[in-house]
Every structure is written in C-alpha cells, then in structure tokens.
C-alpha cells in the first residue's frame, strides 16, 4: 500500500498545504511519497523530505514542468500511478486543474475536496456549498483525491526522507505558458492565515476598501479577504475571494466587514474559530454565524476598532 502526494509550491517555497495533504494521506495508510514537480523543485525537495511520515521524495524538474501545467503533470503522474494505490493533492487551483486529468486517464471517479478519510474507500466531502455533507464510498481500485486543507492539521517537520530524481516528460505542443500576473503581498496567504479581515460590497469603492480594511489587517498581522460582491465590483483582486468558488478558509479570527453573508460566502469561512461581523443591517445573515456581531456603520466602527486593539 502506497500513496503519492503531489506537493504544492511556489517561488522555491513548499506550501503549508502540502503538510496538510500528507496528514490526510497518512490517514489513508501505507507509505507516503511526495512528488515535487516544476520550477525550483530542487530547492523545494529538501523541505518536502523533512515532512513527518514521508518515505521518499520524487523530484522532477524541466522546461515542460516549469509551471505545472495539467497536460505535463498528467504525463508525469499517470505512469507513476502503477506503483501507488492513491494520489492526494491539495484542492487549490493547481490541484483542481491537475487531478481530474489524472483521474480520467486512470478511469477513476475523483473524490473532490475531502474533509475526512473514513477508511481506504470511504471519504467525507461537502456538497451544495457546504450546506450538506456527503459520505461516499468509492469502488475504484485506485483513488484520486483532492484535499480541503482547512480540514486537516499540518504534518510535522521531523522526517528525513530520501530524494530521488525523475525525468520530466517530453515537450508537447498543444499548450504553453504565456505569462502570469501575481498579486504581490507581504501578508500571510489567505488559506494559511491565523487572522483574516474580509471586506464586502458595503465598502463602496476600491479606495475605501484600502482605507478601511488594510489598516485593521496591518494591525492584526492578518490576511485580507473579500466577498464575491466586492471582487466583482472591482474593490479587491479576484485572488482575495472567500467562498464556495473562491478560497476556503478557517482562521482563528475572521472579521467580516460590510459583508451580508450569502450562503456562497459562508461556505468559505464558517469553519473559522471566531467570527466577528460588522454590518449596519442587523438582519444580515452573517450575524447568524458570527460569534460577535456589531451593528454599526463600518466607516466609523472599523477605524475605531483599529485604534483600540
């Protein structure tokens, strides 16, 4: 019995999501190997080798794998699966892009965004934006699984796995990477942040979003999130979106500012430990999930809060 975990990494750093996926894979059982593929794989592999419970790290670098495109990752991973009973990958945009391609090639029905491993064929996953929780049993011989990071604790760093080199797949001409435009930020990454300050449509403009939300986030050392409405209105970049189709977060503290609380938003943050809602509409659904609700004008209350903590 062996499980392959596909590591998530960027700019030469291993993402914390990988540690969480290793925890989920360990619950599945058997030997856990981690595949580090793509740009900077060589720099990332030693960090992956330190994750507790990992047997070995497979490292693959090369031009075709540079941006971990789904086409290249499929070509790399599918042949490897002869030696594994399951592949686990974080339910990030990278993981979601790659995993179904591998599943289809293996003729396997993928299990998306699992939150619990019951046994080697039974898994729990949210459906309907988290408004229902489904326990499902797979009859496929191999399992292809994406993992919701917030549902599993991160594995430790006391491992000492060996690192093996893999050859990159041959070039294909059907797709190529052109460019990327990444939001530069010194803040913690949303899905890994301990504290999040999120803004909604009530902020009214991109300038007000910056003026009100950022100082509070700075003071708290928090990541910044946004509701879909705020992103759609252009107040915040798409990468900030928390919700059913955006990022799923579960920080220690989530402060929702001027967010009404559509079910699609609640789906992304209701597992946060403490939820604070600041909204002038006392009927807003966000108050139904908030531990502490403050009915107030956010333009007055948030600067006051920023000053008081």
């Amino acid at each position: 019995m062996a499980v392959l975990v596909i590591a998530e990494h960027a700019h030469g750093a291993l993402s914390d999501a990988t540690h969480k996926v290793v925890t989920a894979a360990s619950k599945f059982g058997g030997d856990v190997d981690v595949l580090v593929a793509g740009e900077n794989a060589g720099a990332v592999a030693p960090a992956a080798a330190k994750i507790s419970g990992v047997r070995k790290v497979l490292k693959a670098e090369g031009e075709t794998l540079r941006k971990q495109t789904a086409e290249a990752m499929e070509a790399l991973v599918v042949p490897l699966m002869a030696g594994y009973d399951a592949v686990f990958i974080a339910a990030t945009t990278t993981g979601k892009n790659i995993a179904p391609r591998i599943a289809a090639k293996l003729d396997v029905m993928q299990l998306s965004e699992i939150v619990e491993v019951v046994d080697q064929s039974t898994f729990v996953r949210p459906i309907y934006a988290g408004n229902a929780i489904m326990t499902v049993k797979s009859s496929d011989a191999k399992k292809v699984i994406t993992v919701r990071g917030t549902a599993f604790p991160a594995a430790g760093n006391d491992g000492s796995a060996s690192v093996e080199d893999l050859a990159a797949p041959a070039a294909q001409s059907k797709s190529e990477f052109v460019s990327e435009e990444m939001v530069k930020s010194d803040r913690p990454e949303l899905t890994a942040a301990k504290r999040i300050v999120s803004g909604g449509r009530a902020l009214g403009s991109s300038d007000k979003f910056k003026e009100v939300i950022i100082p509070l986030a700075d003071k708290l050392g928090a990541a910044v999130g946004a509701s879909r409405a705020a992103v759609d209105a252009g107040y915040a970049p798409n990468d900030y979106q928390v919700g059913q189709t955006g990022k799923i977060v579960a920080p220690e503290l989530y402060i929702a500012v001027g967010i009404s609380g559509a079910i699609q938003h609640l789906a992304g943050m209701k597992d946060s430990k403490i939820i604070v809602a600041i909204n002038k509409d006392e009927e807003a659904p966000i108050f139904q999930v908030a531990d502490y609700g403050l009915v107030a004008d956010l333009f007055v209350a948030v600067p006051e809060l920023t000053k008081a903590i």
């Binding site: 499902v136 879909r228 798409n238 503290l253």
Partner: protein, 248 residues
C-alpha cells in the same frame, strides 16, 4: 470555430438546500431548478464569440432528465443555435459525463468545448479537465478572459495568487470562472424564437457509454450547526470580548 457548450440543470442557487431526514440526499421535490450559474457564463461567452464572428455555431448539450430540455431552451433563448439532450433519470458522475461528452465531440467535431468550472450541486470541479484528458486536448480552466490568437486561444485563468495566461492550440477545452462575463437575460422574442430551434434527443446507450456510478452515497447529513453568538453594543465591548477570548 464551432463551439460545444455543456449545461447542467441544478437547484437554483438561491434555494436553501434541505437534507432529507433519511440521509439519502437532499430534497429535490418541488424545488426551483435552474441552469448551473457557471454554465450560464459559458453560454454567454459562446454567444458573444458568435456575435463577434469568431464562433460559427453554438451547440448546447445537457445530460439529465426530460426537464433538462428547459435548461437547453434557456441557452437557445440566450442565442445558442441548437441543442442535444442526452436523456437519463440516473445520477451521472463527472467521469461518465466526460465520457458522454467525448462521444458528442466525436460526432460534432467542435473546435472548442466551453463549460462551467463546477456545478453548484456536487461542487466537483472535474468534468472539463476529465474531458480534456479523454480527448488528449489542451485545457484552460477557470477562465477570466478568452482571446483568439491566430488558430490558438489565449486563456487568462484565475489562479491562487493572481492570474495566469496560457496559449492553447485548438481543439481545446476551456472552463469558465465567475468574472468572464455577465450573462444576459433572454428577451421575449428570443424566448419565442428558441421554441423553434432544434433539440435532438439521445440516450447514454446510444453512445455506448456505461454510466454506472463508481461512488456510492453512504449518507448525506446536515453540516454541524454553528451556535449563534451575541451582539455587542459598541467597539469597546467587541474589543473586550476578543481580548477575553484571546483572539487579539
């Protein structure tokens, strides 16, 4: 360029989902059903491509019960040219959907399959990627912008951390994200016109695809309820609560 747009009939996104007391699933009886919101975006994009002279024909396909025909009609009213209904009352998993779509692609020979990135019922986010793999086509998932670039397509994708642009040789599969466009409402004359558009009817057996599920639902339950909290009077009271809880 011929565009194939798969659409799914799902619970309307405004409906509060109720889990059945016997834990076999969610209650779909007498619940408002609509086109999956992401699929509306893909229909809209295909129709805009036609209006811009990039697409020559937009064919809509849906897999589902007889009522899925209404979903196809909605797409036709938005401007799609014709529809295909693959009729089944069975639950069809993404892998089987992808296999059926691969057969439709073999018949229809589109240059682009444009579909929603996920359906809001099972939240799987799999079908487009699976279809691309089965066809050995390139894929552009979570599209934020789609541009024609000679014979290729440039797709800007919403990814964690920002935006990424890839260039795909056609034929290709593209799945759409929320901000690609804002779908139109069909006008009354277009709804009337859509009634005359052709919808052909097929069954999974016509395509020789085995749609037997690979997953068995053990149970469906309500999520753990979050206990309602308290309202605080003012910012000072909020800060006091947060300090007591050790949150700040």
């Amino acid at each position: 360029m011929k565009v194939l747009v798969p659409v799914k009939r799902v619970i309307d996104y405004n409906v509060k989902v109720r889990v059945k007391p016997d834990q076999t699933g969610v209650d779909l009886a007498n619940v408002k059903m609509s086109m999956n919101p992401f699929d509306e975006i893909s229909v809209e994009e295909a129709v805009r491509m036609k209006e811009a002279g990039i697409a020559t024909e937009v064919v809509v396909v849906s897999i589902g019960p007889q009522q899925a025909q209404e979903t196809i009609r909605t797409a036709l009213a938005m401007g799609a040219d014709r529809g295909i209904l693959i009729k089944t009352d069975a639950m069809v998993e993404p892998l089987a959907v992808a296999k059926l779509l691969a057969k439709v692609v073999a018949d229809e020979k589109p240059d682009l399959v444009l579909l929603g990135k996920q359906a809001i019922d099972d939240d799987s986010n799999q079908t487009g990627q699976m279809l691309a793999a089965l066809l050995d086509w390139p894929q552009g998932t979570f599209a934020y912008k789609i541009e024609k670039d000679g014979d290729a397509l440039k797709v800007t994708r919403e990814v964690d951390g920002g935006l990424q642009t890839v260039k795909l040789q056609t034929p290709a599969v593209v799945t759409v994200d929320l901000r690609l466009n804002e779908p139109r409402y069909a006008s009354l004359p277009n709804i009337m016109k859509a009634k005359k558009k052709e919808i052909s009817e097929k069954s999974p057996a016509d395509y020789g695809v085995d749609i037997t599920p690979r997953l068995t639902v053990v149970k469906v339950t309500e999520p753990a309820a979050r206990s309602g909290g308290v309202k605080v009077e003012d910012v000072a009271a909020l800060v006091a609560k947060l300090k007591t809880a050790g949150a700040v």
